[in-house]
């Protein structure tokens, strides 16, 4: 999947991934896509929830050997 920026949250545990994600999304222009990579199993539920709450669009997710990858389009 194509993306414009990437955010590394590997090794971080709750709540740091969401705080970082919120900060990174704030800076991005509308319509751009962020790729977020994390290793906290909690993110699998937290990121979709946060996206639906904030109106940003979760385009897709993927798993890669312990890492969870999320693609999010800024609203």
């Amino acid at each position: 999947m194509e993306f414009d920026e990437t955010l590394d949250c590997k090794g971080l545990s709750c709540p740091m991934p969401i705080i970082k994600l919120a900060k990174a999304m704030k800076k991005m222009p509308s319509g751009k896509v962020l790729q977020m990579i994390g290793t906290d199993p909690g993110s699998k539920e937290d990121v979709p929830k946060w996206c639906s709450k904030t109106g940003n669009q979760l385009l897709g997710t993927a798993d890669e050997d312990g890492a969870n990858i999320f693609y999010i389009r800024k609203a």
Binding site: E2, G11, P41, W50, T54, D65, G66, I69
Partner: protein
């Protein structure tokens, strides 16, 4: 790492751009065989997704009622205190104030064993779900884990309990001190959330930088993790053979129930920090609803145990009303939010492999015994007796009145989180 590099690995769909892709969770894992066996179904139910918080909370309350029927309800910081006291004892540092008759050996301390088996249970569950991995965070995060653990240790000793003893068990036990403790937890959480947001703006380096992950399960192909999980759980259960079945049933009960608690904690990602913190971050009300459901079940069971005279009615009702509860609550709230897990949250996350929470446990193991030895006696001496009372709500309001009061508090809390979720009045993200 270049964008192109990763892109080339994930270029399954190139022609989209205008068309919006639907969310497809984990598209790569859909290589299942045609027929799904009955055990695959069971596996997917138990380990495919995290359990809802309310489900976890209700099971945890039932297990806590089980512990209370054996002798006393679920607690967490007392267990880690026992780890610490034993460690100081082995190293040869005598703690004469806090353990005048010598330190109880870890094997004979039911809460110490409960904390050990909670960790083992969580580790087994995370392995079975293929969620275990040793996750080493950036250095700044490790420092926050340690600092958070140290603060939690101070708060738990001064406040006479943690978010389990003074909240998850303390509220159903109808303790007035526990109500004060939680109110003050909120203050600590609020300050620490402000700090985390400030840190993210002004010192982003603390939470970024080198990190690494070991032993994670491979996404494709089979993994040894589920098998390892079964072995870990079996070893945990085998700890009961350390005890004499005729005379040490209490310890056997705590070992086995601790294992189940750890398992449920990991599967439901039970988190009291999250419950309180989301009020100020995302406003998510789901954890609070789950916690309220658990407290209601606990209150029903605990009250029955008290009225029927099965257990000590004052269990988990500490002499902390009101000054120790205030001071301990604020400090504990600060610590758990900085660490990202309360005592029990740190325990199960340590089992899942988060090195930040290993350091939180190290902080707790050091600060719990030292606070009990050096700070607590001086602190309590300073306070008049009227400021460190055991406040058992039924003594003032009767059982009926106390339960009505708790129902009122829980209802107000529910309305408050729902209002906050809708309006975003207190949320930052």
């Amino acid at each position: 790492m270049s964008n192109e590099e990763i892109e080339s690995e994930n270029n399954a769909t190139v022609e989209e751009k205008a068309e919006v892709m639907p969310v497809e969770p984990t598209p790569e894992v859909v290589v299942e065989p045609q027929e799904k066996g009955i055990f695959d179904e069971l596996y997917a139910t138990l380990f495919g997704k995290s359990w809802a918080m309310w489900l976890g909370c209700i099971i945890l309350s039932v297990l806590s009622i089980g512990l209370y029927m054996i002798i006393s309800p679920w607690g967490s910081s007392g267990g880690i205190l026992s780890w610490g006291q034993n460690m100081f004892d082995i190293v040869g540092i005598g703690l004469t104030n806090s353990a005048p008759n010598g330190v109880t050996s870890l094997l004979d301390n039911r809460y110490g064993m409960l904390s050990i088996t909670m960790l083992i249970g969580a580790m087994g569950a995370s392995l079975m779900a293929k969620e275990f991995a040793v996750r080493v965070p950036p250095k700044g995060e490790m420092a926050k884990g340690l600092l958070g653990g140290i603060l939690m240790g101070i708060g738990a000793i001064i406040g006479m309990g943690c978010t389990i003893g003074q909240f998850y068990s303390g509220w159903p036990a109808l303790s007035g001190g526990a109500l004060v403790f939680v109110l003050c937890l909120f203050i600590g959480v609020f300050i620490a959330v402000k700090y985390l947001l400030w840190e993210m703006e002004n010192h982003p380096g603390l939470s970024s930088g080198k990190s690494c992950t070991f032993l994670a399960a491979k996404t494709k192909g089979s993994s040894l993790q589920p098998l390892a999980g079964v072995i870990v759980l079996a070893i945990g259960a085998a700890l009961m053979f350390l005890y004499d079945g005729a005379t040490e049933q209490v310890l056997i009960g705590f070992v086995l129930i601790g294992l189940m608690i750890g398992f449920v904690l990991q599967r439901s990602r039970f988190c009291i920090v999250r419950t309180l913190r989301e009020t100020f971050l995302t406003g998510d009300s789901e954890p609070t609803q789950g916690l309220i459901a658990g407290i209601l079940v606990g209150m029903f069971g605990f009250t029955l145990i008290k009225i029927l005279g099965i257990g000590d009615p004052f269990s988990m009702v500490a002499f902390n009303f009101w000054v120790p509860a205030i001071v301990g609550g604020v400090i504990f709230g600060l610590g758990m939010t900085i660490a990202g897990g309360c005592t029990v949250g740190s325990t199960w996350r340590a089992g899942e492999g988060h090195v930040k929470l290993w350091l939180a446990l190290v902080g707790l193991v050091i600060s719990l015994p030292l606070t009990a030895e050096y700070i607590k006696p001086a602190f309590l001496d300073m306070l008049p007796a009227s400021m460190q009372e055991q406040m058992f709500l039924p003594d003032t309001f009767g059982y009926g009145g106390s339960i009505c009061l708790m129902l009122l508090i829980l209802t107000l809390w529910y309305v408050f989180v729902k209002w906050n979720e809708k309006t975003g009045r207190l949320t930052a993200l």
